[in-house]
Symmetry: C2
Subunit: 410 residues, 2 copies
């Protein structure tokens, strides 16, 4: 048997059936029409937002990085609950605008922005987080051409990283942002070029479960923003401190306690360097807000034995849940939390089973030798932590299977 | 510097511009309208088909596994040139039928076939490669309900594997097929149940570059098919020997010489066990037929320096070429062959560069510290080996970027 990650604390059963947002999983599948199905429970997202607001100083804005889950109904529900959206492409710009988020509360990061994307962003009036001097030059030229004052921030590749992150985004040669020692010159050039300079974007890492590492990085981030601003000689309207809040996906992962982070930020804001006293601050979270709110439901097509090992074959797979298969930035495959939705409170059988997707490839493995109750054809398998980097971060067209359904419980 | 795989031998330059199918890469981009673009050269596919026909005994049919690349125009061109299509879903069934391939030349494998997929396949008259006893029961029941005689083969999980394969599909507990010791009983049950038994499907591994390993496995496969057929007491109409022919993707990979495989197969067919003397045989190839025919063209958006390292940022990325980023079943990331299409014959600069996609994630790396000629904004980067498991095997919706364009040179 191999262990699996912890089932998020939001889920319980009624007469054996997993409840999501108070509804039985099977009736949700009926409502959506079929499996495979992503269900997103807005109440869990809102609970995370409340948790954030309770723990963080009121001066820290909350931005949602929509790349984690750009499902249209989810974005619409987010407007009014978070203070801004962070986007990563022209396509996400269109989604953000369609959701009703105010353009001035949208910021656009991404290392390879095409001219048509810069143009659309400047025209809409969203903030562009510049990733290089060349991008800055292109943005100014485009703004000049279309006769708009561009809102430009500078993304900084910090000279430190967020230790223990799932993805390191700073502390070395990186494709993101400009190196700290060139960031002030770029900001100054943009101001001199007539741009509305919006401040700094500093993103040192993501998916981190260590509050002390996050506190240390945020302290270093504020100090770096102050140093850079002093060099520019101007107060940045906004300092985006990045994200980094992680979720427990795997065995042994300990949930992140964000309260000490809020206490440390509060004290940092009390003793800000002069140049930042009038700045706004934001944290940019994606996964942490929506990851636990999603459950992927997929039906058992076959239960088969091969050489004494039991395989549960489901109608979903890595084409919808690439990350759960271990093929999305992970080196060693580990098990996401999995359960039988319609037998949620039945104890596990003694023999482990392997849950595989319907794709004709050995990498389509959703649960490797996991402990589940006895499984039958037609059962519903639930894979948790499916709210972020699921439906849109998977190769949906692979092998010609249907796209997953999505359902938001608002 | 880190090495990259060998550029396939089909490509040359004219006045510095990479030629694909005799056309300059830049003019192909103009024709398609924009980058990112997959170009598929049917002449290379046809050369591979000829190479197969020249090397293999005439009695060995050639099937194309369309999962490797189901681009509609490519499938249409394949009809009449290969002897059958192998499909892996109801969606691929629709594509195969739309291409004009005859239903009796289509076979359907895949561990999680839903009832609606079995029903469509039986109705169309394609062969279903049964993956389990349960699937066999469901197929018979559905055939009975719709009043058709189902064409059923049995997929066998062989008791050996194809040594040195990129993906092992046999030789242990597997979700594919039924274990060899139960395969004959399943075939017998299907015959007794009124099915049109089509024979065996044995797939021991894929992406293999060792002709001796392939020869050994094919010998074992024929012997196993004979043993199973003797137990059933019937000659299988078709023995699908699987695939396994690999392509050189990475540094040090040596191209597979298929001629000794043909010689060995010829001799195996000369001395077939009695029960197989009237059988047909097929090899099922995907990647080997189309992989080298594809080039992914993506434009340089930015050239940037971070801490002394040069990053080339392009408008494509892992959302189109997941495999090239090392996030599709590979443990250690290695470099696919890459070139500057519009400076194809310029010698490499002395300093290596890192080619990254436009996605805002550190895993979007298409070439890690590779040797390229000096690169400028607007240059076209070519990533080779893009004909198989590219466009459809990548998370196209990730981060909201446009889908890649595709162009077939037929």
């Amino acid at each position: 048997m191999k262990p699996m990650g912890p089932i998020p604390p939001w889920f319980a059963a009624d007469e054996g059936m997993l409840l999501i947002g108070g509804c039985g999983a099977a009736s949700l599948v009926d409502e959506a029409g079929d499996t495979p199905l992503f269900v997103y429970d807005m109440a869990i997202v809102e609970a995370q937002i409340r948790r954030f607001r309770d723990a963080m100083p009121g001066r820290i804005d909350l931005h949602y990085a929509i790349k984690a889950n750009p499902y249209a109904a989810l974005l619409t529900h987010m407007v009014g609950q978070v203070d801004g959206f962070d986007i990563a492409s022209g396509g996400e710009l269109a989604m953000a605008l369609a959701s009703g988020m105010a353009p001035h509360a949208i910021s656009f990061a991404g290392p390879g922005k095409r001219d048509d994307e810069l143009s659309a962003a400047i025209f809409a009036g969203v903030t562009i987080n510049l990733e290089s001097e060349g991008e800055g030059r292109r943005a100014l030229a485009i703004a000049d051409r279309i006769g708009k004052v561009p809102r430009l921030a500078v993304r900084v590749n910090p000279d430190f990283d967020l230790k223990g992150s799932g993805m390191r985004m700073g502390g070395g040669a990186k494709p993101f942002g400009v190196d700290a020692d060139r960031a002030a010159a770029l900001a100054r050039a943009m101001i001199d070029g007539g741009a509305d300079w919006r401040g700094w974007h500093l993103f040192a890492g993501s998916q981190n479960l260590d509050p002390l590492a996050i506190i240390e990085t945020q302290g270093a981030t504020i100090a770096l923003a102050a140093r850079l601003s002093d060099t520019v000689g101007a107060t940045p309207p906004l300092v985006n401190l990045g994200g980094g809040f992680g979720l427990p996906y795997f065995p042994g992962d300990v949930p992140l306690d964000i309260r000490p982070i809020g206490v440390a930020l509060d004290s940092a804001l009390e003793s800000l360097p002069d140049i930042l006293t009038d700045s706004h601050f934001a944290l940019e979270l994606g996964r942490w807000l929506v990851g636990e709110a999603g459950v992927y439901l997929t039906r058992v097509i076959d239960v088969k034995i091969s050489q004494g090992e039991t395989f549960i074959v489901v109608d979903g797979g890595l084409h919808h849940q690439l990350a759960a298969s271990g093929n999305f930035g992970t080196v060693v495959r580990r098990n996401y939390p999995i359960a039988i939705a319609n037998r949620f409170d039945t104890p596990a059988a003694s023999d482990p089973v392997t849950v595989v997707g319907c794709l004709c490839t050995p990498i389509d493995r959703l649960g490797d030798k996991v402990a589940l109750p006895p499984v039958k054809e037609g059962d519903l398998i639930a894979i948790f932590l499916a709210g972020a980097y699921g439906a849109t971060a998977s190769p949906a067209a692979f092998l010609g299977h249907p796209s997953p359904r999505e359902l938001l419980l608002g």
